[in-house]
Assembly symmetry: C2
Homo-oligomer: 356 residues x 2
Amino acid sequence: MNGSGLRTVAQQRQAQVDGVLNRFFSLAKNRAAAFGPEYVQLWESLEENTNGGKRFRPRMVFAAYEALGGTDLEAAAYVGGAFELLHTALIVHDDVIDHDFVRRGIPNISGAFRNRALDAGASNEVAEHNGVSAAVIAGDLALFNAYRLIDRSGVGDAVRGRLLEVMDDALFASAAGELIDVEFSIAADMPRVDDILTMERLKTAVYSFECPLRAGAILAGASEDVVTTLGDFGREIGIAYQIVDDLLGVFGEAAETGKTTIGDLREGKRTVLVAYATSTAEWPTIAPLIGKSDLTEDEAAAVRELFISSGARSFAQGLARYYANRALARLAEPHIPPALRAELHPVADAVLGRVK
Amino acid sequence: MNGSGLRTVAQQRQAQVDGVLNRFFSLAKNRAAAFGPEYVQLWESLEENTNGGKRFRPRMVFAAYEALGGTDLEAAAYVGGAFELLHTALIVHDDVIDHDFVRRGIPNISGAFRNRALDAGASNEVAEHNGVSAAVIAGDLALFNAYRLIDRSGVGDAVRGRLLEVMDDALFASAAGELIDVEFSIAADMPRVDDILTMERLKTAVYSFECPLRAGAILAGASEDVVTTLGDFGREIGIAYQIVDDLLGVFGEAAETGKTTIGDLREGKRTVLVAYATSTAEWPTIAPLIGKSDLTEDEAAAVRELFISSGARSFAQGLARYYANRALARLAEPHIPPALRAELHPVADAVLGRVK
């Protein structure tokens, strides 16, 4: 996916999706102007948050669609844009749930509106409430319009109905995963490895990989077995991706991942590493450091060493490879056209290449 | 609308809407069972919150639809159900924004999940966070499926497209209104009367009255001028309704309205009464009591007297009557069929009857 020829295809696809989303946001901002400057600012903030991502889900839609012979790039861009808006809605509301005011180092919607309220002289408490409220509203707008972009893609009734089913599957699973994640915080015990995998599959893999790939295949008019196999591939590689994300959250290079390698530990994030470690002799030493909000760099380094000596790191690495290989095995099935295999093999390779 | 003959029609309509929503929630709960008992409970809680209302918005859809000759009651029930789910989504997220755990005297979704977490031994802080998180997720599910019910109503492409535009108008306005309401809390000055009316129109009147009536008319195949006039009627009567709501929040009978007449004062709710009072000689006496969280019954009685002596109450009563009469004037226009006039006149009369 990084060859110069392929990059051109990727850029073309991205430009198409950007076009759809730019028009969508332009219209919304014009329309919002009649309701006052705050509302325009909310839409601007929502647009910034939508444009901050890597258009990963639209890329999955396009990958399946074009490799399966689809040629209506505008329709694919609408469907891709719909998944991008769904993603925005979910992360904006996830930040509400996590009470986060920053994402990727810059203020998210909650942060932007909190800062705006602080500038207006509000107390910190009132300003935070203002920010979180704005984010609740903005996420609703993004979510609603995700559905709307599918409807506006111009596809016929039967395909539209199936695409809406896929979007529904995406939100239904993601809501379930988010709820499981929230439940982890009140559970008396640390979750088990399979609980973590279930949560990561539902919360992220289904809507980020499985559903966009299925949607692209349905839009291309693919046979049911291809749609199903692509969905399976997406789910497996999506789980692998999330395990790698857990690993990089502790062992990654901040310069590469854009996030610190201490944040997950400080917030006590439930990961495959943590879940595995609970079954090892090192756990009594690790446990008090997980979720320690003032964890020092030295303590973080100690946790990393304990994850290594306990075998948690190599277990997680092995598990990520296992799911990536399962994904590749689906691609190898005979009913998968070679063009589709060629398009998606690098996606799995990229995940495998990040296992470290 | 309370005559025995009309009640039968109302009951038939309600049963039709209940049927659509019951089937929707049954399917969702069955589907959720595969994701664990918490998810089923979330759907149950969402269903309870949806069933707690008076099906007011579906009644508006049906009123316009049947009076304009519509006979596909199942389609009308889907569209009415869609507005009911939109309403649920908006109040669930409004409660998130207001940090409320109770609605109509019983625990809302935040409250149910907070109590559940407390029972599981969580601290109050963790339990509240758990409850609010569940409500964010549940509201998303309701919002998304509001759209979906329109799509499932079985209507043709052109009508479906227009109904989705109306739903979009509803959410677009409501989000703007919610944002204005949130902004009131950081504004240095008390809002003016017209700011209050704008907020109340956008936050509630558009999605509760204007849009359901327009949707019913569109579904019935009404001409554009009837759709527009009905929308105008809905907006005007919706504003009147909200002004009456402000009045009843201070002067109502708790037994009749189901809410106390001290809550709005304690929380410092921005209402037409308050906005008017700021321009009067009584304001310096009233101001310190608005938003006083430990306001006593004696102090509340004093505020009521000051609202009366300052003219705020009679102004608000007059304003409510003004908007209700404006609404009635729209109904009197010649292109409004007599059956529609007969159906909606009692709606305006009911609002006027509550002015006290």
